[in-house]
């Protein structure tokens, strides 16, 4: 009944959806899987009206439709249950359910709370939630909130005559096992009234619930598997389905690191409550250690701990043999840690400051006499690093915000390297860069590694992680799953990693 035909969507620099065909029948549950960046979320946004496709058609029961915004999609019976909690926690449950649609309960400007509560109770009954609709939402558990979200979407039933399509985006990520089962049985029951599109990174759940599964990769639907034919291995292969290009990741330049040397960073059973738990590893000079996992698996939090932006709740962190007792960024910088954040434009560079100002930002003390800057020296330093890293900028005065992404990244790198940082944390260093700029970053990683710098990397793609690293630690839900040694020629396959990630 609901169908996407040849749908295309382009963003500047990215072809997010490449002529995608997608179909969902009445009462069907369709799974949608793919790696991060495979195009799942773009597809969902097209379906519920947040994005408009550049090409192709959307049809409902054979009639062409076009949604300008989510509200119009709702009017056609398409509702979204968001992954991030989208309930307003200071409002009552019933107010959340009818937010934006209160008018039906208003007479002479007065809200009839009794009528709204009655209607809300009816919606809650659909999801088998027996709570007072007047409860403040913040008092509910996450599982209950998830059900309220579902109930909110199900109000479409009364408002819309036709069939419903409900999107569930990672609905189980905050739920315990029993709660997941409860949700699933509910969804199965509700197929009498609605079709569901189910997105999750937990493969077993997708297999369990879905009638059919769409597998996406690089903006394309690479396979559609029926429930009975599905098996985890085959789907995972489809999701990844590429071989690593050794040349591209400078694998030939990878040299063994100094295994015997004193570790630069040592984690012993470190836990940060709610972020990751019981993590241990050593980072040695020249080593590229890659943390692999899905979003929220604890990768970023580990980086931030080393830099000092996150204070662990248990375990011992030491840097260059000295235990770290105080966690803040000043200590991190003093210890020679350099942090290259993912949000380059927000945390990496200061837009509005010049190239040389950015380069010395973390080490102004080295270029100042009792607080007075030696600007001449700063500029000399900047010129040297502009040459060394081949940064494309007209001069040292250029506003960093006006440089291209790759050159911004080089400035950030120069900031840390010129200050002598020998522990470099790279968080998605190639995100949003074009191919040439990516290769520059890979070269720099190898050079730093040759200089004896210890690098901890959270890579943009699995290939990148495999290609660049000496060591890989796979994380899942904050726990270390598996450690791989990745000497050239003997690297784990994508499939090996994915297997432990999800």
């Amino acid at each position: 009944m609901y169908e996407l035909i040849n749908v295309d969507k382009k963003f500047p620099g990215v072809h997010a959806l490449k002529s995608v065909d997608f179909k969902i029948g009445r009462g069907e549950i369709v799974g949608l899987v793919g790696e991060n960046g495979a195009g799942k979320s773009t597809l969902m946004k097209v379906i519920y009206g947040a994005h408009q496709p550049d090409g192709g058609d959307i049809t409902i029961d054979g009639t062409k439709v076009r949604f300008q915004n989510p509200r119009q999609a709702m009017d056609h019976g398409i509702g979204m249950v968001f992954q991030e909690q989208s309930l307003i926690t200071n409002l009552t449950v019933m107010e959340n359910i009818f937010l934006g649609f209160e008018q039906q309960f208003v007479s002479y400007g007065v809200i009839n709370w009794k009528a709204m509560a009655e209607a809300a109770r009816k919606q809650l009954a659909k999801v088998k939630l027996d709570i007072d609709p007047g409860t403040t939402t913040s008092k509910l558990s996450f599982a209950q909130r998830q059900l309220v979200e579902l109930a909110k979407v199900l109000t479409l039933e009364e408002r819309i005559d036709g069939d419903l399509v409900i999107l569930l985006d990672e609905p189980t990520s905050v739920l315990a096992k029993e709660e997941v089962e409860l949700l699933f049985s509910l969804v199965r029951e509700l197929t009498k009234r609605a079709s569901f599109i189910f997105v999750s990174h937990r493969m077993d759940e997708v297999l369990d619930l879905s009638d059919r599964i769409y597998v996406m990769k690089d903006g394309e639907v690479v396979d559609v598997v029926a429930h009975d034919d599905a098996n985890v291995d085959a789907i995972q292969h489809k999701m990844v389905g590429r071989d690593v290009d050794k040349e591209y990741y400078r694998e030939q330049k990878q040299k063994p690191y100094q295994v015997e040397a004193k570790p630069l960073v040592a984690f012993q059973n470190v836990t940060a409550t709610g972020k990751y738990s019981d993590i241990s590893f050593d980072l040695r000079p020249g080593e590229v250690l890659c943390l692999v996992g899905t979003e929220g698996s604890g990768r970023e939090a580990i980086l931030r701990t080393i830099f000092g932006l996150e204070t662990p709740s248990a375990g011992a962190v030491s840097i260059k043999g000295v235990p770290v007792s105080k966690f803040n960024a000043q200590v991190g910088v003093a210890n020679g840690v350099g942090y290259i954040p993912r949000e380059r434009k927000v945390e990496g560079i200061v837009a509005g400051m010049s190239v040389y100002e950015n380069m010395t930002l973390s080490q102004m003390g080295n270029y100042a006499n009792s607080g007075v800057l030696r600007i001449g020296e700063e500029k000399t330093l900047a010129r040297r690093w502009i040459d060394r890293l081949a940064i494309k900028t007209p001069d040292v005065y250029k506003d960093c915000g006006g440089l291209s992404g790759g050159n911004q990244q080089k400035v950030v790198l120069a900031k840390w390297r010129s200050a002598g940082s020998d522990i470099i944390l790279l968080d998605h260093p190639t995100r949003g860069l074009d191919i040439g700029a990516k290769e520059d970053v890979y070269d720099m990683v190898r050079e730093m590694s040759d200089d004896g710098v210890g690098i901890i990397l959270v890579a943009d793609t699995l290939e990148e992680a495999i290609g660049l690293s000496h060591t890989i630690i796979v994380l899942k839900d904050g726990n270390a799953q598996k450690r791989f040694d990745c000497s050239p020629g003997d690297k784990p396959s994508l499939y090996d990693l994915v297997h432990h990630m999800i």
Binding site: F307, A329, V333, V346, V350, L361
Partner: protein
């Protein structure tokens, strides 16, 4: 796009145009003596605006400036007989401490600066009322002249206030553009997350910015007290609005990061020219506040960097 290109130059172009317009209408206006006395009159306001610049430069605001200045007029008057020139030091110290408190409350206690400075302003106002016994106080004329006479005298026909202002603006400019502190201020104003991720002690920098704002507001109050030869808890009332206007009209936007002390110099001159032109065009003095309020709205609307505000609350 082209507007974005002109934007940084808008303040001085505005100043130039205003001066020419007023000068064309009133030939007396451009006489050097008139210009000098106009500039000298505005020095206390300029000093307060200079301090406010630091608070706004980091993306905050200092609504306590006026109350701090009020308080220092009282402190100066009371302390003069006992401490002589030391009274000046006490005033500045009081301002720095109050500003530091605002900064501390803002950064460490997570109270938005417009509330924290409002509250600290309330404290300063109370202190001023307490110390003055809610009366206007007067300085002993001979004592004032012997201690602070240099502030109000003149050198080679130029009022010494202008030298004070010049010294302060040079100092502030040096601080802003040549020191690690100034660089750090810019980083905090232009990109606070990046400043944190570069290991800067952002909280300390912000506290120092507010302390600086308080200290300069105190100097403004001191100068005012000397000029008027006395102090009262309401002496500097009516300064807050033009001070904020001066900073914003000068091109330091509410979102911080660009502009700076030289911009405030230009902004203050714009305010001064507008004021004297209102006199010339016989716009009633009672309308000044309304006019400045409207200018303020226009100035904010033109300068503010909306990309920095995710949600405008």
């Amino acid at each position: 796009m082209s507007f974005e290109r002109i934007k940084p130059h808008l303040p001085w172009i505005t100043l130039l145009v205003l001066v020419l317009v007023v000068g064309a209408a009133d030939s007396n206006f451009l006489r050097p003596s008139n210009l000098i006395s106009m500039a000298a009159d505005i020095v206390p306001l300029f000093i307060m605006a200079l301090g406010m610049t630091f608070a706004i430069y980091i993306g905050g605001i200092d609504l306590s400036a006026q109350s701090v200045a009020n308080m220092t007029t009282v402190v100066a008057t009371i302390a003069l007989p006992t401490f002589g020139i030391g009274a000046a030091l006490i005033c500045i110290l009081a301002g720095v401490v109050l500003g530091g408190v605002s900064g501390f409350v803002t950064t460490r206690l997570f109270v938005p600066s417009f509330i924290s400075t409002l509250a600290v302003g309330g404290i300063a106002f109370s202190a001023a009322q307490y110390m003055s016994g809610q009366r206007a106080l007067f300085m002993d004329a001979s004592l004032r002249d012997s201690t602070f006479g240099w502030m109000t005298g003149s050198l080679a026909g130029i009022p010494s206030e202008l030298f004070i202002a010049a010294a302060l603006v040079l100092g502030a400019w040096f601080l802003q553009s040549r020191t690690t502190f100034g660089r750090a201020l810019k980083a905090v104003g232009a990109g606070e997350p990046a400043a944190v991720a570069s290991g800067l002690n952002v909280n300390r920098i912000k506290i120092m910015a507010f302390a600086l704002s308080g200290g300069l507001a105190a100097i403004a109050g001191l100068l005012f007290a000397v000029k008027l030869s006395g102090g009262s808890p309401t002496l500097a009332n009516g300064f807050l609005l033009p001070a904020i206007v001066a900073v914003l009209v000068g091109g330091t936007p509410l979102t911080g990061g660009v502009g700076g002390v030289i911009n405030t110099l230009i902004g203050t001159l714009i305010v001064a020219v507008i004021r004297s032109s209102m006199l010339y065009f016989e716009v009633d003095a009672t309308q000044q506040q309304m006019v400045f309020g409207l200018i303020l709205i226009v100035a904010i609307a033109l300068t503010i960097d909306r990309t920095k505000l995710r949600v405008v609350k």
